[in-house]
């Protein structure tokens, strides 16, 4: 059963413009000095594809002006792949035959030593849905361990309550990624067959709870391919604007995970090819000049190299999507998704440098580590 999206999120007013064929209006939107939903919708339209190069040039100039000639780097770290979730598209969903494992304290320390040896200073800790093997107390302990090794600790886990987020913030957690997967409730219900994740609005409100709990930043985004990508990108933009207005001190970043047609067994209902992906990233950059835009190793080497600094300002590196992937010699747990860019960190940094981009490992300091407050103090 679906209910209406709140006014601050609904993109209905602008959806018709995302079908526009008026190339004069599209060109004007790309060059606009003050782009809003209207301009974004025009740039998302299929007809805007013919202006892809112009959009890329604009996105590049904006990225360079705001982020300089740098790319911030982070690494994902899988704590657990235990999951009872029913996500149709996921490699570790509850009904998949998967080798399940969860890191204990010693194993996590071993992972962190390996990650530290790669000079990484920002990680994202991942789990599946809320499970006895990987619950909030477990996460809290993991965060405290990881925070002893590196400066910036983030999570990409199940949604939780404000009080639980607070606990994690106090343990040293800085930010959370919470992808809505899709803002369209019909495919959302179809994709999430059972479990807590079926509650669309509980997930939608989770970034608010995370920030109210004291985290400093949230990453949002959708899994492109599940629904009409223009609808999802417009919603993502509106969600970001809402968060920026209501939590004016919070960092808000946007990621662009995509179901790759050629990878894995899952067929996307609304496939997004790499030209479309690039178009959406450029459009978002033009409309949100100051927002970190993130690209993971799901994408191929070629696509990542091309988008680095052209809209994208932050990238994952050296990623392993298995539990114990960094420190252990054998990788016998099942991975969440297949990695396309398998370069190691020195190789990736060399590519960045050859493009005149400085890889930045440390861009935050643990001295700032304490829960944030968004209300007046």
């Amino acid at each position: 059963m679906t209910k209406e999206l709140p006014d601050w999120l609904s993109p209905d007013r602008w959806l018709p413009m995302a079908e526009s064929e008026n190339t004069d209006a599209i060109r004007a939107a790309i060059l606009s000095g003050n782009p809003t939903e209207r301009e974004l919708a025009l740039m998302l339209s299929p007809a805007a594809a013919e202006f892809l190069e112009l959009m890329a040039q604009r996105a590049h100039a904006i990225t360079k002006r705001h982020f300089g000639q740098t790319i911030s780097l982070y690494t994902p770290l899988y704590l657990s792949n235990f999951c009872n979730g029913g996500c149709l598209y996921c490699g570790i969903a509850g009904d998949r035959r998967a080798i399940r494992s969860v890191l204990n304290e010693t194993q996590l320390q071993r992972e962190m030593e390996a990650i530290k040896a790669m000079n990484i200073e920002e990680v994202v800790l991942l789990t599946g849905e809320r499970m006895p093997e990987a619950d909030v107390p477990y996460l809290r302990d993991c965060i405290a361990i990881v925070a002893e090794y590196i400066h910036n600790v983030n999570i990409e886990v199940f949604p939780m309550s404000k009080i639980e987020y607070r606990e994690l913030a106090e343990a040293g957690c800085t930010g959370v990624s919470l992808y809505q997967e899709t803002y369209d409730q019909v495919p959302y219900e179809k994709m999430h067959r059972w479990g807590d994740k079926r509650d669309f609005f509980n997930r939608l409100d989770a970034p608010d709870r995370a920030l109210n709990g004291g985290l400093r930043s949230v990453g949002i985004g959708t899994l492109l391919g599940l629904a009409d990508p223009r609808f999802d990108i417009l919603c993502t933009y509106r969600h970001a604007k809402y968060l920026l207005k209501n939590y004016w001190k919070a960092g808000v970043s946007i990621s662009f995970p995509r179901i790759q047609p050629q990878l894995g067994g899952f067929e996307a209902d609304h496939p997004v090819d790499e030209r479309m992906l690039a178009q959406y990233i450029f459009a978002m950059r033009i409309c949100l000049p100051e927002t970190p835009l993130v690209l993971s190793t799901r994408e191929s080497q070629r696509v990542r190299d091309g988008l680095a600094g052209v809209g994208i300002s932050k990238m994952s590196v050296g990623s392993k999507t298995t539990v114990g992937g960094y420190g252990e010699e054998s990788e016998d747990s099942t991975e969440q998704f297949e990695i396309s860019d398998e370069r190691n960190i020195p190789e990736f940094c060399e590519m960045l440098r050859s493009k005149g981009l400085d890889p930045v490992f440390k861009n935050w300091d643990a001295t700032y580590r304490e829960p944030a407050q968004y209300q007046n103090t």
Partner: protein
């Protein structure tokens, strides 16, 4: 000739161009730009100090430069408490008497928080720092910060990284007119001509980062800013011709009138 040494607290600087050190395409490019600019004071974010990886560390390579002093900055701090903590850590690591106090709680537009900055300035002055606060171009705030003992004030020309130049020129003129401490325009400058313009207005120095870091040739742009700042300062010292709303004729129309004496 007027003395061109800039005094900030008890410290003397031969160059009126300060440089930010982030956003460069490589540490090497940054170092070359610093050298070409002739700057004697550079600022480094504490968050870009990296003692674990030399390649990612901005502090180490800068600290090896002769004639360049380091000013840690508190970028990343959201409030007074965090800024004070960052400043203490920065001093411990760098031994610098300077601190660039910047508190911009909104990580997107990076505009400074006047209230937290004021509170932090009081504390840092007490702790013996030479405090150079990055502030909105607010003449009253500038005086309040001077009153609590800041060594200089650094009003913004425009938001960081926007390259919108001296958007706040009218307010900066008031700040300069009233100030007893050096006034440094920080943020917003895109072109050496804008730096020259700020110096002609009577700014004591300018701080530039994005305009140099994001240039195709940062070292050449650093040198260009050096020239711009020097030209502007020379013009200021030389005394600019006043502007006038009406033409001033060289053959006055009232010379036929008899004088009283």
């Amino acid at each position: 000739m007027m003395n061109n040494i800039l005094k900030v607290g008890d410290q003397e600087l031969g160059s009126r161009l300060f440089l930010g050190t982030g956003k460069f395409s490589s540490t090497q490019a940054m170092i070359e730009a610093v050298k070409a600019s002739g700057t004697e004071l550079v600022t480094v974010a504490l968050r870009r100090f990296n003692r674990n990886q030399a390649e990612d560390d901005l502090y180490g390579p800068l600290s090896e430069l002769k004639n360049v002093r380091l000013m840690p900055n508190t970028s990343g701090a959201m409030n007074t408490k965090e800024a004070v903590r960052a400043a203490m850590l920065g001093r411990e690591l760098s031994k610098s008497p300077f601190i660039k106090l910047e508190i911009h709680p909104n990580p997107h537009h990076l505009l400074p928080d006047a209230i937290e900055t004021y509170e932090a300035a009081i504390e840092l002055v007490k702790q013996g720092f030479l405090v150079l606060p990055y502030i909105p171009a607010d003449p009253v705030l500038a005086k309040r910060l001077e009153d609590v003992g800041c060594a200089a004030v650094m009003p913004l020309g425009a938001a960081i990284g926007t390259g919108k130049g001296l958007s706040t020129a009218n307010m900066i003129k008031i700040i300069i007119r009233d100030a007893n401490v050096p006034v440094v325009v920080d943020a917003g400058l895109r072109a050496p001509s804008e730096a020259a313009c700020a110096m002609e207005m009577g700014c004591d120095a300018v701080l530039v980062n994005s305009a140099i870091a994001a240039a195709d040739n940062p070292a050449a742009m650093g040198a260009a800013f050096k020239t711009g700042v020097e030209a502007g300062r020379m013009a200021y010292n030389a005394g600019l011709m006043p502007t006038s709303e009406v033409a001033v004729p060289s053959s006055p129309l009232t010379s036929f009138l008899s004088t009283n004496d």
